[in-house]
């Protein structure tokens, strides 16, 4: 049996007395698109924040490519090949779209204040290559007309796109997408699903995503995990999840089951 790309075991995270995630097991295999769903406050984003090491989980382990990353510093995560986006967008607002995508390549660039201050020819070359890679992604995501705009002036949907680009340009193995379809209408959501599928093919990625939009998730993901109050209440293929009584209960309340 091949080793999963990402393997979370027995993850528990509490804030004060509040249980955000409890004893969660989750795996993502190479090439998979896996969805993490659940009602508001179910602990989905907390899982992301544990993987990207913004939170220190109270218990449990996270392995990536067989390596224990449970205690790796947060800025090392992207170097290992895990890039993420944020639910409410965390772009560098004063930087242009292009600069944000150059920042996405920070770990791939050999920088140093003296090297950069003297602008050695090596620095110029790596900068030029980085701009080329950024432009390729900008082209792919249809962001060409906005490349010199500061991120702050773009509408939310485009900012989400820039964030996706910034994650992609770091050439990750695993992409964590936190509500990529937030704020998008039905048409845009369909296009986004196509885009995510294309990206996975083209960059040989694995994707773990958090999302509220059920149609989006059901159409896109191969496997789903359902969280409610920090606990995993179901996992399986979209078909299995759709008919799972615990899921229906969590989403629609007990009355729905009685019907």
């Amino acid at each position: 049996m091949t080793q999963p790309l990402l393997e979370i075991k027995n993850l528990t995270m509490r804030f004060g007395g509040l249980v955000a995630v409890e004893r969660l097991d989750l795996t993502v295999n190479a090439g998979e698109i896996v969805g993490l769903i659940g009602p508001n406050g179910a602990g989905k984003t907390t899982v992301f924040n544990c993987i990207s090491r913004f939170y220190n989980p109270e218990r449990g382990t996270i392995h990536f490519q067989g390596r224990d990353i449970t205690r790796v510093p947060s800025h090392e995560i992207i170097r290992l090949g895990i890039a993420r986006t944020f639910q409410n967008v965390e772009l560098c607002r004063s930087m242009t779209v292009l600069q944000n995508l150059l920042l996405g390549q920070h770990v791939r660039m050999r920088s140093g204040v003296i090297r950069d201050g003297l602008r050695l020819s090596e620095t110029t070359r790596s900068e030029r290559e980085a701009i080329q890679r950024a432009m390729d992604i900008i082209e792919l995501l249809d962001l060409m007309p906005y490349r010199h705009y500061p991120a702050a002036v773009l509408p939310f949907g485009l900012q989400k796109m820039v964030e996706l680009g910034r994650a992609l340009v770091s050439q990750p193995l695993l992409l964590l997408l936190d509500e990529p379809a937030a704020g998008a209408n039905a048409h845009e959501t369909r296009r986004l699903a196509d885009l995510i599928r294309d990206i996975r093919e083209q960059f040989h990625l694995s994707i773990l995503l958090v999302e509220h939009d059920m149609t989006f998730v059901m159409g896109l993901c191969q496997r789903l995990y359902v969280l409610d109050f920090g606990r995993k209440i179901a996992e399986g293929t979209p078909e299995e999840i759709q008919n799972h009584p615990a899921v229906i209960e969590a989403y629609l309340g007990e009355s729905a089951v009685a019907l």
Partner: protein, 344 residues
């Protein structure tokens, strides 16, 4: 293929012309017999030296978003290091200058460590404490620093040229060229830094620490780097200051000077290399020349009120500082030229 004429962009040509003009400043001023040339050149040199501090503070505050009210402390460390190295250790100026920069950078790095856990006002208080304590430390280390008397009779700055006679900067005019040369080098370095991967890491820390961490920016490394680089600038400037005045004492480095440095950066324009230069010049010249205006000179300390008024008006009308106003004006002129060309 790079060919030389591709370098001849409008902005490069303008920069070159500007450089030519500043090199001729002493000559131009000399044409007006009414101007006390020595004094004015001394003031301009002071402006150039403060501009170096402002450049460094802007890297730390304007770009990396880390506030400092302690830059007079770094400036003092640079000045005293250079003074001690040249008078007590008899090192030549050409070694004392980088020595002052490097030692100050090391201290900036150390100050950056506690600053890692502090932001905003708390960082301001911590750096203020640093700035306050340096003059006191200088008083205590009397054997080295001369205590409240300070250090005096510093040697002339000079650059040895191997077999040729060394260049010695004796007059105010000569010193002006030294300060100008160092400022040009420091401006070049600052411009390269802000347009590089390091500069982006700085801005990322300012804009969103979460985004910076997620993109692999090591906050410890880049915050301490920002402090060290900024302190390096202040240290180099401190060394030039000591040799401009040929003598220094602890009261040259009060908290008011730290506040002046912050004012220069904000006045000139945050996160703008040219802004640091404008701000440093404007404040230095205003502080020293306002007292000579006809009416202002008749009332004691009226110049401070006038200065305050000018500062309030500047920041209210130009929220992006002088650099922002200059850029706007430039764009307006460029548009007008474009229109004229279309009309032809």
């Amino acid at each position: 293929m790079t060919t030389w004429w591709r370098w001849c962009t409008l902005s490069n040509v303008v920069t070159l012309l500007g450089l030519g003009v500043v090199c001729l400043v002493p000559t131009i001023l000399g044409l007006f017999p009414g101007i006390p040339l020595g004094y004015v050149l001394y003031l301009v040199s002071l402006g150039l030296i403060y501009a170096i501090v402002a450049l460094g503070l802007n890297l730390l505050f304007g770009y990396a978003g880390q506030f400092s009210l302690g830059h007079a402390g770094f400036f003092a460390i640079g000045a005293y290091t250079s003074a001690i190295l040249t008078t007590r250790a008899d090192l030549p100026f050409i070694l004392a200058l980088p020595g002052a920069g490097l030692l100050t950078a090391a201290i900036g790095f150390l100050l950056g460590l506690p600053a890692l856990r502090l932001t905003g006002l708390y960082l301001a208080i911590a750096t203020l404490g640093f700035g306050l304590s340096i003059p006191q430390l200088i008083l205590w280390l009397r054997e080295w620093t001369g205590g409240s008397m300070g250090l005096h009779k510093l040697p002339f700055a000079s650059i040895p040229l191997g077999p040729f006679p060394a260049i010695v900067f004796r007059t105010d005019q000569e010193y002006y060229y030294l300060a100008l040369g160092v400022l040009i080098v420091m401006t070049f370095l600052a411009r390269n830094i802000v347009n590089s991967d390091t500069g982006r890491a700085f801005i990322a820390i300012r804009d969103s620490e979460i985004a910076a961490r997620a993109m692999g920016v090591n906050l410890v490394r880049y915050k301490t780097t920002a402090f060290a680089v900024s302190a390096f600038y202040a240290g180099i400037a401190g060394s030039l200051y000591a040799h401009l005045l040929h003598g220094i004492s602890p009261e040259d480095f009060t908290v008011f000077l730290s506040i002046d440095f912050v004012t220069m950066v904000v006045l000139g324009g945050l996160a703008s290399v040219s802004g640091a230069l404008y701000g440093a010049f404007m404040l230095t010249l205003l502080q020293n020349l306002l007292t000579r205006l006809p009416i202002v000179s008749e009332f004691k300390n009226l110049y401070i009120v006038v200065l305050g008024l000018i500062l309030i008006l500047t920041v209210s009308f130009f929220p992006h500082g002088i650099a922002g106003a200059v850029q706007e004006a430039r764009q307006r002129i460029e548009r007008r030229i474009e229109k004229m060309l279309v009309g032809l």
